[in-house]
């Protein structure tokens, strides 16, 4: 790498509002999504999923189905192409759910057992529903509850630090003037992207071409190449538009099944997952049980902090929801302990879901901080200010920037926090009790190696190529602005092409790392191009292209704690006679580095906050103990916030300069919006009613039972089957 990017000369594109460059295509229907791109001779695959939670497949009775109209093939473990799932991909080992049809074992309800391919989608569906699969069923266990047998401490990996400990926790807790010791639970939650997972695969001139909806086309291409033992250069994956992803859109069974069928039939095959199937094979957020112990001096200074999390995984793959990890960043204490434990059950494997770890973790920790503030008789914001760490509470590393206090100060000013009477249960309006609450938010600001190419075209325009993904966030637009500034040209002269694995390796749209990672690569290539153009001469017809690879730059970043921060504020109304909770307003103030596009950034933050509201009040996937599967696995049964639940939501940010940052202080904002919202709402519900809700979601049943229970009878609130 020969270029230093530094702070680019700006033309003012970054930091100003730009509507989405593909917005017109999307609102006019011109934009094609993966499931609607036309192909000649297209066949349609319909996945068949197991209806038992544990056992072996005895028979897939495909003969009658093969005789049905239009049916071309029935793939299953007895006849499907072999794949090799023993590899380490860009984000680690793959979840074996994608290595479909390789054996007869069934590890959970919803496991793919067959694919019926037919001339039309309707024929494939009818045949799939008629397909009889016989099982040798074994007893299953899907019961997740606190401290259940089988829970273990996982090994550390590059993506998981299971446990951290410093100091004598029990001694500090014993010496504390004030102690909070509480258990919090969060339920199983699902990504529920509006666009279902869809892929079309075909062989074209010796190459495998896949049109997909994903968070990283090079990621998916490389994993498909590894699975099918293909030369990575012979696989091309594109994902032009994505209707939501949230962590669920990596390699999933639909691409693999489409490739298998396209290979067997030698014609294009499309596989689209149903909403019901999405509840089982694309991952989800594990339920959690969290115990938080906080010990403080009378003035609120933390002496001991203990955050323990327990989550679930499948029997075929270990995924750990790292809910306790947020405590490693937010607060220091003399003795500090965090641990993420996990228990394998006969359920699908969870995965990353918007703010994995931080979303459920912040509910527990930030609820506990509110309880501590109550016990100390302190303002919740003052308590947090008192425990602001000067460096990473566990790592000891300096923060690249930390403006959490500024978020609270600005938020408090705009929310009217100063007028708040801290006592609970005092305000009402008709049948509604009113209350306000707050919580802190944080999420890592990571970066990963990426490559990009920037071309100066002969007509004076510029083309950027990078395997970024725009999962609906506005990434394509943000990169257009970043490239325009890096090239010192107007954004209208920049064309950004993304989501094509042929453009080379790049970070996926995940973990709030996309914009920062891609921006760095684009800035580096643009800088290189400007140096070439500075030599003078005409641009030839094929243009002049400069390429970048930020691997070395990323590797040379000094170790620091790099995070976004935020302060969430909520006002709620609670009718304890009906159990209804209404959020009246939300305000989130964030310190998230340099905001590239205020228009789409605000939209993304408001979206995250809306999801936080939904997490607080609505979302909960119900697993039936008898069958081991879900009840109501669709968008009527799985409730998330409807429009009528969403009040005025304001999101804004404070200045958050990141000194000496080679990417100009750009951080990711994909996750930070959801973090802390559920705690702020739960804290507001306490302020309204005087009742602590430590189990999400705060459904009417829980509010009603809490209201009818004696204050000391806390067990009553969880008797509505919170973890059943």
């Amino acid at each position: 790498m020969t270029t230093t990017t530094g702070t680019p000369v700006t033309t003012g594109a970054v930091g100003t509002a730009h509507s989405r460059v593909e917005g017109r295509d999307k609102v006019t229907g011109a934009a094609r999504y993966a499931g609607e791109i036309p192909f000649a001779d297209l066949a349609h695959g319909w996945m068949v999923a197991s209806t038992v939670a544990r056992g072996r497949i005895l028979a897939v009775e495909d003969a009658p189905v093969l005789a049905m109209p239009g049916v071309l093939a029935v793939l299953h473990h007895g006849n499907a192409p072999r794949v090799d799932a023993e590899f380490i991909g860009q984000l680690g080992q793959p979840d074996p759910v994608m290595a479909a049809f390789q054996h007869d074992r069934v590890p959970f309800v919803g496991w793919p057992v067959a694919l019926v391919v037919a001339e039309t989608s309707e024929q494939a569906r009818e045949a799939a529903e008629a397909l009889v699969v016989r099982y040798d069923t074994e007893p299953h266990d899907v019961a997740f509850y606190p401290d259940r047998p089988g829970t273990y401490l996982p090994e550390n990996t590059p993506m998981l630090t299971a446990e951290t400990a410093k100091g004598d926790l029990e001694a500090e807790l014993a010496a504390s003037a004030v102690v909070v010791d509480a258990r919090y639970t969060t339920p199983e939650e699902h990504h529920s992207s509006m666009e279902p997972h869809a892929a079309t695969a075909r062989w074209e001139g010796g190459r495998l071409e896949v049109h997909d909806s994903n968070q990283g086309s090079k990621w998916v291409a490389d994993e498909l190449a590894a699975l099918f033992s293909l030369d990575p250069a012979s696989v091309r994956v594109r994902s032009e538009h994505v209707g939501g992803a949230f962590g669920s859109k990596g390699v999933r069974p639909h691409q693999v099944l489409a490739v298998m069928a396209a290979t067997v039939l030698d014609r294009p095959v499309r596989v689209v997952l149903t909403r019901h199937q999405m509840f089982s094979v694309v991952g989800y957020r594990s339920p959690t049980v969290q115990r938080v112990r906080l010990g403080a001096d009378a003035d609120g200074r933390l002496r001991g902090l203990d955050h323990q999390s327990q989550s679930v995984t499948s029997t075929v793959f270990e995924f750990v929801e790292q809910s306790a990890s947020i405590a490693r960043i937010l607060y220091g204490a003399d003795a500090h302990h965090t641990v993420n434990r996990v228990v394998p059950l006969d359920v699908p494997t969870p995965t990353w879901m918007r703010a994995p770890g931080e979303a459920p973790g912040s509910f527990a920790l930030e609820s506990a901080m509110d309880e501590l503030a109550e016990k100390c008789g302190m303002d919740p914001i003052a308590l947090r200010a008192r425990n602001e760490p000067g460096a990473g509470p566990v790592s000891g590393l300096p923060f690249s920037s930390r403006n959490l206090n500024a978020c609270f100060q600005e938020g408090a000013r705009r929310f009217g926090w100063a007028d708040r009477d801290p006592r609970p249960g005092l305000r009402s309006e008709g049948r509604w009790l009113l209350g306000t609450g707050t919580a802190a938010a944080t999420y890592p600001s990571g970066v990963a190696p990426s490559t990009a190419a920037v071309t100066a075209e002969a007509d004076g325009t510029y083309t950027v190529r990078i395997t970024a993904a725009d999962v609906g966030t506005g990434a394509r637009t943000a990169l257009t602005q970043i490239a325009a500034d890096a090239l010192s040209v107007a954004a209208e002269r920049v064309r950004v092409r993304i989501a094509d694995s042929d453009f080379g390796p790049a970070m996926v749209a995940g973990g709030s790392t996309g914009t920062r990672s891609w921006a760095w690569a684009v800035m580096a290539a643009a800088g290189e191009l400007r140096e070439q153009l500075a030599l003078g001469g005409d641009v030839p017809p094929q243009g002049i292209t400069a390429r970048s690879n930020t691997a070395e730059l990323v590797g040379s970043l000094p170790p620091k704690e790099r995070h976004s921060f935020g302060a969430q504020f909520a006002e709620v109304a609670v009718d304890v006679s009906s159990g209804e909770v209404r959020v009246r307003r939300l305000l989130g103030i964030f310190a998230a580095g340099r905001i590239v596009n205020p228009l789409t950034a605000r939209s993304q933050l408001v979206g995250g906050m809306t999801w936080g509201l939904s997490m607080a009040l609505h979302e909960e996937a119900i697993r039936d103990q008898m069958s081991g599967g879900h009840i109501g696995a669709d968008l009527a049964g799985y409730h998330f916030a409807a429009n009528a639940d969403v009040p005025l939501i304001e999101a804004d940010w404070v200045d958050d300069p990141v000194p000496d940052d080679p990417v100009g202080g750009i951080k990711g904002i994909g996750e930070i919006g959801i973090v802390g919202v559920a705690a702020a709402i739960a804290n507001a519900v306490w302020h309204a009613t005087g009742v602590r809700h430590r189990d999400l979601p705060i459904r009417p049943a829980r509010v009603l039972l809490a209201a009818s229970a004696r204050p000391s009878d806390e067990q009553a609130a969880s008797e509505d089957g919170s973890l059943a």
């Binding site: 529903e129 009840i631 509505d720």
Partner: protein, 336 residues
């Protein structure tokens, strides 16, 4: 999906005759529930008889001063009708508390009465359900039942009827009229739905192949002072976890007339006659309202995860009756 026939009919005798020829046929109104059930494989009709063109789309005053509502009147049109809004406000409120604007534009009054439970076991063909597959069992009793019945259920089925409109109709003494090949018939709303017993798959007293042609509301001055209140797990687009339709006439502090029905507590909209008897002739006081609610709910048999409903229904009954009692002048009732 499976292939099925589709035929649009234009007169009632033709519809009934067609239905008689094809036992596996279903009448198609707005399709807002039937089509979902077809997608889920719960309903597999050989033929859909589209009845939306039948001349049953009128709301008309009856000779006695009541109201007749045709079976194909849409929910939206029903809720908006001035005679309904001012004469039976609970009915308008109930309709508007359900579904969404788009669904209400499609859904019909007749279809609303025949919609099926949203119990998750009923709608998943991979699971047992006595209502869908008689004799296969009811896993909800020991499983997921947080929005299931507390009144009138049996171990064979604990599902609830999802209708909002039906709760108001139950309180308003509606009469359902229907047509069969043998001629017309009528059923009082409280006789329309069958008790659960050990036959939860038999839901209504309609003769086989009968077509609902309309609903008649008798004249009821008390109905002008009526209300519907629904509690659900999100502010919109969800079925009730508890609802109340009530009408109240109070003079000189004494309850002269009362109508009360409860929703989301039973396999049918639950007419609360025990509470009504307790109310009529008694004082319009909070204590009396609480006593009436308790009298009705004394029969409640909650399951482990739905016992919150007893408190919810008690609170809702008291709150709605209190609001009605405080309403000084029924003529000022407005629809929100």
């Amino acid at each position: 999906m499976r292939e099925f026939g589709y035929q649009r009919v234009h007169d009632v005798p033709g519809a009934v005759a067609l239905r008689g020829e094809e036992p596996a046929a279903r009448y198609l109104g707005g399709g807002t529930n039937l089509v979902d059930l077809m997608k889920a494989g719960v309903e597999r009709p050989a033929l859909l008889i589209d009845i939306r063109e039948l001349p049953l789309d009128r709301i008309e005053a009856t000779a006695s001063g009541g109201l007749h509502i045709g079976a194909t009147v849409t929910n939206s049109d029903l809720a908006a009708h001035p005679r309904v809004r001012f004469g039976y406000p609970a009915l308008t409120q109930a309709v508007l508390a359900g579904a969404s604007g788009q669904l209400r534009n499609m859904a019909t009054v007749g279809g609303n009465l025949l919609q099926r439970t949203r119990c998750g076991y009923f709608t998943d063909t991979a699971l047992p359900c006595n209502k869908r597959s008689p004799g296969s069992g009811c896993p909800a009793v020991a499983g997921e039942h947080h929005n299931h019945a507390i009144l009138g259920a049996t171990e064979h089925c604990v599902a609830v009827h999802p209708s909002d409109m039906g709760v108001a109709l139950a309180a308003l003494d509606a009469v359902v009229s229907y047509e069969t090949a043998d001629g017309p018939g009528e059923l009082a709303f409280t006789d329309f739905y069958l008790p659960v017993g050990d036959t939860p798959h038999r839901e209504t007293a309609l003769p086989g192949g009968a077509l609902i042609t309309g609903i008649t509301l008798p004249p009821a001055p008390v109905a002008a002072n009526s209300r519907y209140r629904k509690v659900r797990e999100r502010a919109s687009y969800a079925f009730a976890i508890g609802s109340v339709a009530a009408a109240l006439e109070v003079r000189d502090g004494v309850v002269r007339d009362a109508r009360l029905a409860l929703g989301a507590v039973a396999s049918r909209p639950w007419r609360a006659r025990t509470a009504e008897r307790a109310l009529i002739g008694g004082p319009a006081s909070a204590e009396a309202f609480e006593a009436a609610a308790d009298a009705e709910l004394a029969a409640a048999e909650p399951l482990p995860h739905n016992r919150y409903k007893v408190a919810l229904m008690r609170n809702l009954v008291v709150a709605v009756l209190t609001e009605l009692a405080e309403q000084a002048d029924p003529a000022e009732e407005t629809v929100r």
